[in-house]
C-alpha cells in the first residue's frame, strides 16, 4: 500500500510539476528532500536514542510493567490476540502514555519496539496482524492532552486566547480515535 502511494506521489508529482511549468525545479527538490531527511535524521537519532535509553531504565526497573498493569482492561479489549503478560503490551501502553503526554520522541522508540514484539506473534510475515492494525490506528489518531505546537503558533500570530482550542482539540481527537477504533473493529470482523 505504502509502495503504491509512494509511486503515485512521485509520478503525479513530476507530471503536474511539468504541466505547471516548474520543470527546472524538480531535480533540486529531490536533493533538498534528501538533505531534509538527513537533517531530520540527526535530530531524530539523538532524541530517539536518548528516550530509548530512558525507556530501557524504566523497563529494567519494572516501571513499564506497572504502567501496563494499570492499563490492562483497555489493552485486553483492544488487543485480544496478544497473550497476557506479553512484552508487546508493555511497549504499547508506554507508547500510548507517551503520546497522551505529548512526548513524541519518547513515543517513537516504544512504538517501534511494540511492533517488533507483535511481529514475533505474526504467522504471516510481511502482512500486518490485527493487533498491529489496531495499534497503528490508535497511534496515528492518538489522543493528546495539549498540542503545544499549535498553541505556540497561535500565540505568535497574535491570538487573544491561544489556549482556547485545547478542550475542543481534545474532544475532536477523542472523536477521531473512537471512530477509527470502531472502524478497525468492524474491518477485523469482515476481513479474517
Amino acid at each position: 500500500m505504502l509502495s503504491k502511494i509512494w509511486c503515485l506521489m512521485i509520478i503525479f508529482g513530476i507530471f503536474f510539476t511539468v504541466i505547471n511549468g516548474k520543470c527546472e525545479k524538480i531535480s533540486s527538490v529531490f536533493l533538498e528532500g534528501a538533505a531534509e531527511a538527513m537533517e531530520l535524521f540527526w535530530v531524530m537519532a539523538g532524541a530517539v536514542a536518548f528516550w530509548s535509553g530512558i525507556m530501557k531504565i524504566a523497563e529494567k526497573s519494572g516501571l513499564i510493567k506497572a504502567i501496563s498493569e494499570k492499563m490492562r482492561p483497555i489493552l485486553e479489549y483492544l488487543f485480544p490476540d496478544i497473550p497476557k503478560g506479553h512484552k508487546a503490551l508493555d511497549y504499547i501502553s508506554l507508547n500510548i502514555a507517551a503520546n497522551f503526554l505529548g512526548l513524541g520522541w519518547a513515543a517513537t522508540p516504544s512504538g517501534i519496539m511494540a511492533v517488533r514484539e507483535m511481529d514475533k506473534l505474526n504467522r504471516r510475515k510481511g502482512r500486518a496482524t490485527n493487533a498491529m492494525c489496531m495499534f497503528l490506528v490508535i497511534n496515528m489518531s492518538s489522543v493528546q492532552l495539549i498540542s503545544m505546537n499549535i498553541i505556540s503558533y497561535r500565540l505568535k500570530y497574535g491570538s487573544e486566547n491561544p489556549a482556547e482550542i485545547v478542550l475542543p482539540g481534545i474532544i475532536a481527537t477523542t472523536v477521531s480515535t473512537a471512530a477509527a477504533v470502531w472502524a478497525c473493529r468492524m474491518c477485523e470482523k469482515v476481513e479474517k
Binding site: M1, S3, I5, W6, M9, F16, T17, K22, K25, V29, G33, E36, M38, F41, A45, V48, A49, F50, S52, G53, I54, K56, I57, A58, K60, S61, L63, L103, A106, P109, G111, I112, V115, G126, R127, A128, C133, L136, V137, N139, M140, S141, I146, N149, I150, I151, K156, Y157, P162, P168, G169, A172, T173, V175, T177, A179, A180, A183, C187, E191
Partner: protein
C-alpha cells in the same frame, strides 16, 4: 495559558527524573541500561533512514506540483454545504504526509485569516485530530518489513473525517 505552558514544560523533566529515581530505588544498573537502550535506538533510526529519505522526497515533489491547491479549488462548490473552507483542504491533506509541511501551511492560514476567526479556530482544532498517516506507517513498519497494511489507511482516514466533522461543529460553537 501560563499554567498550561508550565505544565507542558514540566512533563519531560518530571518523566526523566521519575524514571531515573525509580531505577535507582530498584537498584537497576541505570547508566548501563541507558547505554544499551540508546544503542538500540540508534540502530532503529538507521533502519528507518532509507524510507525517510524516500518519503520526504515524494512529499516535496508532491507539494511542488500544486496538486494540493488544486484539490482545494475542486472543493470550492462544497464549501457552503459542509462549512469546511476550501483554504483548509491543503492543510488537511498535507498533515497526512508530514507535520512539518502542514505547520507551514497552518502559519500561512493564521497570517492571512487571523487566529481568532472561524477559519483560524477550525484550522487549530483540526490540527489536533488529523494524523500523519504515511510517515507513521513507514517509521513503524519498515523496521519489521510489513508490506501489507490491510485496512489501516481506510480506518484512519475515516476517523480523521469524523474528527474534522467534530471540529467544524466545535469551531462553529466558539
Amino acid at each position: 495559558m501560563k499554567l498550561i505552558s508550565y505544565f507542558n514544560g514540566a512533563i519531560i523533566p518530571f518523566a526523566v527524573l521519575f524514571i531515573v529515581c525509580f531505577g535507582v530505588y530498584k537498584k537497576t544498573d541505570v547508566f548501563g541500561e541507558f547505554v544499551k537502550g540508546a544503542e538500540d535506538g540508534l540502530k532503529t533510526c538507521v533502519s528507518i533512514l532509507p524510507s525517510l529519505i524516500g518519503l520526504i522526497c515524494a512529499v516535496k515533489i508532491f507539494r511542488l506540483s500544486g496538486l494540493m491547491e488544486a484539490a482545494g479549488l475542486l472543493w470550492k462548490p462544497l464549501e457552503k454545504i459542509t462549512h469546511f473552507p476550501s483554504e483548509l483542504v491543503p492543510l488537511a491533506l498535507s498533515k497526512t504526509f508530514s507535520s512539518s509541511a502542514s505547520a507551514g501551511i497552518l502559519t500561512d492560514i493564521f497570517q492571512n485569516y487571523g487566529t481568532d476567526t472561524y477559519i483560524g479556530r477550525l484550522a487549530s482544532i483540526m490540527m489536533c485530530c488529523t494524523e500523519t498517516i504515511f510517515y507513521t506507517m513507514s517509521v513503524y513498519f519498515s523496521p519489521v518489513g510489513i508490506k501489507d497494511s490491510r485496512y489501516i489507511i481506510k480506518c484512519t482516514i475515516f476517523g480523521m473525517l469524523c474528527g474534522i466533522a467534530a471540529s467544524i461543529v466545535l469551531a462553529g460553537a466558539m
